[in-house]
């Protein structure tokens, strides 16, 4: 089978399956609503949906054609129309998948069965949209036709963009631009001049300070949640990103922080009524202590075993605080209410002030992270991550450094827990489920392990996007999984990876950046070692 046909088949197959998946999770309805304003039609047709399908068809066609040999630089063996054929096949196959699926749905619908019993998103309205408001076969056929046409168009688009070297020009101009930025005087000053850098940070912080005043309660709360996850991401980054210890029970430290501040400041069940700030400090110390304590037995394990044990520990804490037997200490399933918070002019912090506080905590955490990263500790952890045996042979006490990473990461997790519990004025066992650990881990992986901007970005993507796309909230886990799988394939080092992590993930030897190596090679072949010193 010629390459171009295979590419078409493959692209059509993949896009077909993905679109069926999107329909099943109800994303097509979301897309319809999002895209509808773009195409104001007077007709009864769901124009947003049609546009969405057309765009996907275009994409399928283009991605099939892009791989065809003619565009890969082998014009002698293949004709240009091969690219169009690829697009056409992608359209036919992808359209057939989607069309057939819609036809089946539409037929079932006309028989009077309610699909919602099986799949919540497949309401009669949704199916009506899918069939474009017509009978099943006509709607399905229309969708198929859309795919065929847009598939060809996609192929043409790929050909067109190639003959103008659009992609190449764009990527080269992008490279020039980024190289230009990197080499420009401004960038160099920013990179090298600490004062300028701090001024830029200052401007950024001022924007951060002003922004919350313009946002409503809801957005301040949402951003605060994202911020708490950023803190946790930074904390777990010390454990996973710096020291390379896989911890799946990070929520344990979060819970210890939340419960410590809760029990110390709330009127029940302990009735201690401590000051919030003292509670905060004690909570951090407590979380660090728990991290240290957990680390002693656990850190002798490596890799998978460590992950499993920490996972269990995370659940253990939740079960403990939930248990009826200990409810006089921890408050049981009802949790702890009326947790104190910081006061301003005799008033509790509002959502906005909490956001400020959380941002301050983030900055504090970033500061600590950077300081640790750039010290001998960061180096020792890095060495441990790369080769534990050799690191030990460099005099690094592996166990102590792992414990330290655990304790420091735990203290920051505890800090996040304090913020969370105090802002909600409540904490209960259900705040500390496994999902918190999974979320934090996922945001670090998606953002880029070991990278501070990556963690912030990952936090916005994983905690912020679901807020924007409330409609798919039920499918957040599905999207999580999908996103993680896609990330692992496309960008295993994360969205915004740290430079070092990028190196560790890639096996390719990068070209040396300076001429020092050439000099070295010449030296080693021309000169005797004695002569050099």
């Amino acid at each position: 089978m010629p390459n171009y046909i295979r590419n078409g088949l493959r692209s059509g197959f993949v896009f077909g399956i993905v679109i069926i998946f999107l329909i099943l999770i109800g994303f097509t309805r979301v897309a319809n609503e999002l895209l509808a304003p773009l195409v104001k039609g007077t007709s009864q047709l769901p124009m947003g949906f049609i546009l969405f399908m057309a765009l996907l068809g275009l994409w399928a066609g283009a991605s099939a054609a892009k791989r065809s040999p003619v565009l890969m630089g082998m014009p002698d063996t293949y004709q240009k129309w091969n690219a169009i054929i690829s697009g056409l096949i992608a359209g036919i196959i992808g359209g057939a998948f989607v069309g057939l699926f819609i036809f089946v749905l539409g037929s079932i619908q006309t028989k009077g069965m309610d699909m919602r019993v099986y799949l919540a998103q497949l309401s009669p309205d949704a199916i009506k949209m899918l069939t474009l408001g017509r009978v099943a076969w006509a709607g399905a056929f229309s969708i198929w036709l859309i795919f065929v046409i847009t598939g060809i168009a996609g192929g043409l688009l790929a050909l067109f963009s190639d003959s103008f070297k659009l992609g190449e020009r764009m990527s080269s101009s992008w490279k020039n631009m980024s190289a230009g930025i990197g080499d420009s005087a401004i960038a160099k000053t920013v990179n090298q001049n600490a004062v300028v850098r701090y001024i830029l940070y200052g401007i950024f912080i001022i924007i951060l300070l002003i922004l919350p005043s313009f946002l409503g309660k809801y957005w301040n709360y949402t951003l605060g949640t994202i911020g708490i996850y950023i803190i946790m991401g930074l904390g777990i980054n010390i454990i996973i990103g710096m020291a390379g210890l896989l911890n799946l029970g990070y929520v344990a430290f979060f819970a210890v922080g939340a419960y410590t501040v809760g029990l110390l400041t709330a009127p029940a069940p302990q009735g201690l009524h401590w000051n919030f700030w003292i509670g905060l400090l004690v909570a951090m110390v407590m979380a660090a202590f728990v991290g240290w304590l957990l680390g002693i037995p656990v850190l002798r394990l490596r890799g998978d075993y460590l992950a499993i044990v920490t996972l269990g520990f995370g659940e253990m804490i939740r079960v403990l605080v939930r248990s009826k037997a200990l409810s006089s200490i921890f408050g049981g399933p009802q949790g702890v209410r009326d947790i104190a918070g910081p006061m301003i002019f005799g008033q509790r912090f509002t959502e906005r002030e909490y956001l400020y506080l959380i941002v301050a905590v983030i900055i504090f955490t970033i500061f600590i992270t950077i300081r640790l990263q750039n010290s001998h500790l960061g180096r020792a952890w890095g060495a441990m991550r790369e080769d534990q045996t050799v690191a030990q042979a460099m005099g690094i006490n592996i166990f102590r450094y792992k414990l330290l990473a655990f304790a420091l990461g735990a203290a920051i997790g505890g800090l996040a827990g304090v913020m969370f519990a105090s802002r909600n004025q409540y904490t209960g066992p259900e705040d500390h489920t496994l999902m918190v650990s999974v979320n934090v881990l996922a945001l670090v992986i998606v953002g880029g392990m070991g990278s501070i901007p990556g963690i912030i970005l990952g936090s916005f993507v994983l905690k912020g996007l679901p807020e924007l796309l409330r409609q798919i909230e039920d499918y957040r886990l599905l999207v999580f999984g999908g996103l993680l799988v896609v990330m692992m394939i496309v960008k295993p080092e994360g969205l915004w990876p740290s430079k070092r992590r990028q190196l560790e993930m890639s096996d390719v030897d990068l070209p040396p950046e300076t001429d020092a190596l050439q000099v070295l090679e010449e030296q080693s072949s021309d000169q005797k070692l004695r002569g050099e010193s």
């Binding site: 640790l372 001998h376 790369e386 042979a393 070092r500 190596l517 080693s524 005797k528 070692l529 004695r530």
Partner: protein
């Protein structure tokens, strides 16, 4: 030999893996500023013995007495590798094991770890003491790079360095610990004649300029015979010979171990045997 200070002395060191005795009752003495080699056929237990000294394996029997920087005698058996390093024994590896994604300077700075005094708390506060320590570390690392002939390559990633340079960087990293004893596991493996000659010269320099005692595993007989004060020969975990290079070259048991009994019996002239060993 007895007139000199002894840096390391092993007494009847034995290491077993299940039923296999990898190292069996090996006695060995390393004098101060000595270059001592251990040779033997593949599987003779050389690297196992090395690993016993550096703490990666715990010997089942025997003592390893090390005289540390203060000339205090310590039995290394039972010590973890990191403690042994801190006492003043550094090592390199047969297959280079640098921290590939760290720069050359960072690699050396990791090697300085036992000499760093500051704590994590100081790292966060960035106290003057820590800043000074970091500055000193970088100066020292740069000096070491220069010493091993890698001046100017400090910011290169270890993985990007050419093979010979990686070997030298590994030695520089070991030197960062200011060792009293340096264990080199086949430092000339994979090198051509010219590079091997350079490395031999360099090892001599380590002794003459830094006063370090060197314990060497080496397969290249030219290197071993040319550089060693004393040679210990292991076969099946047992010491079968010990002596100066000349003595070893003439020793029939060594020839037998390398060439087999029949071949050794066939070699009547000692000079011919020495030639074969020297190959």
């Amino acid at each position: 030999m007895s007139s000199q200070n002894i840096v390391l002395e092993t007494r009847k060191v034995t290491k077993r893996f299940g039923g296999l005795t990898a190292v069996s009752g090996v006695n060995l003495v390393i004098p101060e500023k000595g270059i001592i080699s251990v040779i033997g056929p593949n599987g003779a237990g050389k690297t196992t013995f090395f690993n016993c000294v550096s703490g990666f394996y715990q010997p089942d029997e025997g003592e390893i007495i090390f005289s540390d920087r203060n000339n205090k005698h310590v039995d290394l058996v039972g010590f973890a590798p990191d403690n042994i390093v801190a006492l003043g024994i550094s090592r390199t590896y047969q297959n280079i094991r640098l921290f590939a994604n760290m720069t050359a300077v960072e690699n050396i700075m990791v090697g300085m770890h036992p000499h760093l005094k500051t704590t994590w708390f100081e790292a966060i506060l960035r106290t003057p003491r820590l800043v000074k320590e970091e500055k000193d570390s970088i100066t020292e690392a740069t000096r070491l790079l220069q010493f091993v002939g890698l001046a100017g390559a400090g910011d290169e990633l270890a993985r990007n360095l050419p093979y010979g340079a990686q070997r030298r960087l590994e030695i520089a990293r070991a030197l960062a610990n200011k060792p009293r004893l340096l264990l080199l596991d086949e430092p000339t493996a994979g090198m051509n004649n010219k590079e091997t000659a350079e490395m031999t010269e360099f090892i001599r320099r380590l002794r003459s300029e830094l006063g370090i005692s060197i314990f060497l595993i080496e397969h290249d007989m030219h290197v071993v015979m040319g550089i060693s004060d004393y040679i210990t020969v292991l076969d099946y975990g047992e010491k079968i010979a010990e002596g100066t290079p000349e003595q070893i070259q003439k020793n029939p048991r060594v020839i037998e171990a390398y060439l087999g009994r029949g071949a050794a019996a066939g070699l009547h002239k000692k000079s011919a045997a020495a030639d074969v060993v020297a190959q």
